[in-house]
């Protein structure tokens, strides 16, 4: 798509399940999450006041159909902004409190093999920092912005 660019941001092994990795791409702060081998890249800026989501706590979504009931669901799939506690769905970037209008941008993120990455870089279809070294044995995370 015009105007979009695809960036090599990290080796898969660098992004552990659990903590979030914060990277900078073309002046944008991006939070990368690993949910059981699936990778998600969110704009690392809470749409409320701009807190860094990456510094927040990753937790579950507690849902309930009646008072006194607490259902712990989707453990590890929600990030809470460290500033005011707003929760965001890591898979969609949508807030829990106002999912329709309050969301942080979700960028496309996927994994490519080192060999393909090297070809992509050579063909100019992928971008990476100048000093970035790609090895054929590794897998890499590509983020499209």
């Amino acid at each position: 798509m015009t105007g979009r660019s695809r960036h090599v941001v990290a080796r898969v092994a660098e992004i552990a399940q659990g903590p979030c990795k914060r990277i900078e791409l073309a002046g944008r702060a991006i939070a990368i999450f690993n949910l059981g081998g699936e990778f998600f890249a969110l704009n690392d800026r809470c749409p409320h006041e701009g807190g860094s989501l990456c510094k927040g706590k990753i937790s579950a979504l507690t849902v309930s159909s009646q008072p006194g009931e607490y259902n712990w669901t989707r453990e590890g799939e929600f990030i809470r902004c460290p500033w005011h506690g707003w929760e965001f769905d890591i898979r969609t970037g949508r807030s829990v409190c106002d999912p329709r209008t309050m969301r942080t941008r979700l960028y496309d993120a996927h994994v490519e093999h080192g060999g393909d990455v090297i070809e992509g870089l050579a063909a100019g279809k992928l971008l990476a920092a100048e000093s970035y070294r790609v090895s054929v044995e590794d897998d890499y995370i590509i983020v499209e912005i």
Binding site: H48, T62, S64, Q66, P67, N71, G85, E87, S95, D98
Partner: protein, 356 residues
């Protein structure tokens, strides 16, 4: 346009209780003796001191505060077609549980016999003896089928926040009978009217009522009462209006950050408030500036929230009862007629004439 033009329902008028002597015919001999021997002549509280200007406007007071005076003012002079009696008599203050139950029963019986029976344009709230939940339910069951008892009434400042589970039997019974829970300004004075402690002056007491209302709204929403009882409606009476938008904002805003504490509150508190609450318009607690009043109404974000009330005989205005200045005329029909009729189907059932 006048209340008459809209065939208005006056949702908050107060029948005057001259003294405990009027309740004696409705009491068991034991309680008659207790009242007489102890010299309990009245149950007036400092919420509405008998001679305070707020309690009864001077000209109303001069005319007398009985049934005929109320009929003359509310129906003949102002042109309301129906009115709801919310009886303010300090039965809520009584600590002796059995005496509280006996006097509250007597009060409801007195309202039925001395007011409702004498004028079928009058409707009333069942006064609930909150000192005992079993008795509260019994009282509601006793009057629920009466065609003129249209809601239950408690005071804004009672024993405890109304959302707590100990009150769920009450909410269950009200939902089952399709009766709204009316919360009226006032206090049982079992707790100070402010969380800071007791106040010294009448002005502080009356102004602090809105804090009690706020706490009740927050409690009913956060405790999940409307998740448990989705058809329950709550009416805030003589609560003041203008504090509401700011409070909705505050409650909804903070909910966003602490939502997971009460996960059953699964949508913004403001949405829940708009779906389940209504509010009488007098006092509005706004300036004379019509623009400000209009803004407050816009901020409530619902045309179905407000109910017209004169608050007779309380001195909230001079001259004739009308809509607070600034309420857009396009809402008069809803506030004076449609909203009350929707909330109180028993009143709607008595209006056989074609609706304009």
């Amino acid at each position: 346009m006048t209340p008459a033009a809209y065939r208005a329902i006056d949702c908050d008028v107060h029948p005057h209780v001259p003294g405990t002597n009027v309740l004696l015919p409705y009491l068991e001999p034991h309680w008659v003796e207790q009242i007489v021997d102890r010299g309990i002549h009245s149950l007036d509280s400092i919420a509405y001191p008998p001679n305070a200007p707020l309690t009864a406007r001077a000209d109303f007071r001069q005319e007398g505060l009985g049934l005929q005076s109320l009929q003359r003012q509310v129906f003949d002079r102002w042109g309301a077609q129906r009115a709801i009696l919310n009886c303010l008599c300090g039965v809520q203050l009584i600590h002796n549980t059995d005496m509280a139950i006996a006097l509250t029963r007597a009060l409801n019986a007195w309202i039925a016999a001395e007011w409702l029976k004498k004028d079928d344009r009058l409707f009333a709230s069942i006064i609930v003896p909150m000192q005992d939940m079993d008795a509260a339910i019994e009282e509601i069951e006793h009057w629920a089928a009466h065609p003129q008892f249209v809601q239950a009434m408690v005071l804004a400042n009672g024993e405890s926040p109304l959302g707590k589970r100990r009150y769920w039997p009450l909410h269950r019974a009200l939902e089952m009978h399709g009766l709204p829970l009316g919360i009226h300004a006032g206090s049982s004075y079992h707790n100070p009217v402010t969380s800071l402690g007791w106040t010294n002056y009448h002005l502080e007491d009356y102004a602090a009522q809105s804090l009690g209302f706020q706490a009740q709204v927050a409690s009913l929403v956060t405790e999940g009462v409307f998740v448990k009882f989705p058809r329950l409606k709550v009416v805030l009476l003589e609560s003041g209006v203008s504090w509401l938008p700011g409070f909705i904002w505050r409650l909804s805003k903070f909910w966003r950050g602490v939502r997971r504490e009460t996960p059953w509150v699964d949508r913004p508190p403001g949405d829940i408030i708009r779906d389940h609450f209504a509010m009488s318009v007098t006092p509005f607690d706004g300036p004379r500036d019509a623009d400000v009043v209009r803004k407050v109404i816009d901020q409530i974000q619902s045309d179905e929230f407000l109910l017209w009330s004169s608050d007779y005989p309380h001195w909230q205005f001079d001259g004739d009862a009308k809509m607070p200045a600034g309420v857009p005329e396009s809402l008069y029909a809803k506030i004076m007629r449609d909203n009350p009729l929707k909330l109180y189907p028993k009143i709607a059932a008595t209006r056989t004439e074609a609706v304009r």
